[in-house]
Symmetry: C2
Subunit: 331 residues, 2 copies
Amino acid sequence: MVTIADVAEAANVSISTVSYAMSGKRKISRETQERIARAIAELGYRPHASARALASRSTSIIGLQAPLRPGVDVHVVMEVVTGVATGARGHGYDILLLTSDDSTGLERAASGSMVDALVVMDVESDDQRLGFLGSLDRPCVLVGLPADPGGLACVDFDFEAAGRLAVEHFAEQGHRRVALLGSPQEVLARHTSYADRLTRGFTEAAAEAGVEVSVHPCPSTPDASEVVDDVFAAHPDVTAMLIHNEEALPHLLARLSERGQRVPDEVAVLALCPPNVARTLRIPVDTIDIPAEEIGIAAADVVWEMISEGAPPSIRLIPPTLTARSAAPGA
Amino acid sequence: MVTIADVAEAANVSISTVSYAMSGKRKISRETQERIARAIAELGYRPHASARALASRSTSIIGLQAPLRPGVDVHVVMEVVTGVATGARGHGYDILLLTSDDSTGLERAASGSMVDALVVMDVESDDQRLGFLGSLDRPCVLVGLPADPGGLACVDFDFEAAGRLAVEHFAEQGHRRVALLGSPQEVLARHTSYADRLTRGFTEAAAEAGVEVSVHPCPSTPDASEVVDDVFAAHPDVTAMLIHNEEALPHLLARLSERGQRVPDEVAVLALCPPNVARTLRIPVDTIDIPAEEIGIAAADVVWEMISEGAPPSIRLIPPTLTARSAAPGA
DNA sequence: GTGAAAGCGCTAACAT
DNA sequence: ATGTTAGCGCTTTCAC
């Protein structure tokens, strides 16, 4: 294995000069700089990550907890993960992936000094991990927004605003009764942060706009079709729906079509999903895009600011925007 | 920060005794063992991962390259990743996630001694990374099977056998012309290992069984529907299809239904996908399951064998099995 | 059954 | 502008 000492010898300089030449923390003459660069290239030298981490007390690794819990949107998770990895790389960081959904992995990574910071996904409104995370000395960013962030940094799409936006959009179009077909029961049951916030924005905006609403969990299976029937059985006057369930989406649209309810003329539909997912639908539907990768990148950016500038924990919510995709305008 | 020296002091033993007590590489008296355990618990000691790695020359981290390339099945990728992480954890390893699709991340991780081994996904038949991977001193496992593995370990589902199984199954049922509706063009164009192998097994078995076949790339969008029309335009006598494209699957089935071709009575369908995905279909379809998580676990197992026992690079292909899900049997 | 001490390869004072 | 050196926190020879 080639060490920094080998490079120093080959370049006829001291070890520290090589170190400083690499970090740029000291001014090195043009000439020595080049001799060192040549030595590094010729020897194929790679600094030993652990040695560097031990001496510098920083690993250039960010821990990312991305548990694949039942009912989550795989596309969204995957894109957020990709975003975090991409963003982190842009700042010179790598990702240690933690897939268990408890605190053990976080504990191992943080307390074992494996990572410089943590990014935590699938946050619940009253998340069990918050206490532990708050007690850490390392920066920590939640992808989500718990009821009480307790001084932790939070990054997410603004699901509450998205709920409001949908209702206001429908209200403007003259709809008087709107339904939210959302996440699977299991996701709602554990009070996943995004689901809670979407529901809140949706119902609050409805109260303000004088629009009648109902909220319906949707399984991510063909059984979702039945929810459509349930909606109209309970509220025959529903004329618009906000759908937030990537996997159920095609089944819901198919069921509407089977019932002879044309989208968007008879039933206005707004899908809350990543643009990629919207493009895989047979029927073009207006959407509120979930910018999943952007969320991940933003999380990495916040981590970076906290690490490099000691920035205080901030809360960053990406505002929703509506994208028209359907042919005809709603009723 | 609590160090091993603190523990040693608290337990009234030497540093090395603490180290040996933790690793179990030396016999420690019952009494000292307990004193040390108590000190560790009381102080909340966590060994410093980098210090340990530097001294032991092993990080207990496995690098996992999981690029999210266009056209790949997100569910499958995610499940394999979960499997690798789960399997690795079972052996005391964590995962460093690399999402770029070139060799730079692999290089950084391996040459920088960040990882003890590598697992590489999305392997192509003539993969560019093979040369570099073969030159490494660390164990490396491919998830996939290139044309020439060149001494590297390979783990995957046996897509070739799956192609054969499908054809033989259809032939047994009396079908004389079968179509393979597969991965998107982009996946085939880069000769992704699994797509190549599936096609080979499919066409070879067909030649042997005297069954006529055709192979059709499928976009992962609603446009996939057109492929169904193309298939029957080119070969009106097609009575069975093997579908290997998770995202296209619903659109293909829907198009068949629109054309009035009943599944499985008029057109026998075999879907090649994870069981989870099959369960999200509106029409139950017979499947050949892709045991995605199992593949990941197997990859982690092979890595473990190579690391711990110095096992030679092996090739492990998980055989396909057919699962009946549709109501009626085929023609 | 236990200690002492020499590294592991690097960073960052403290030198000049 | 460059060199010397004391650690970083652990593992693992030696030594008893």
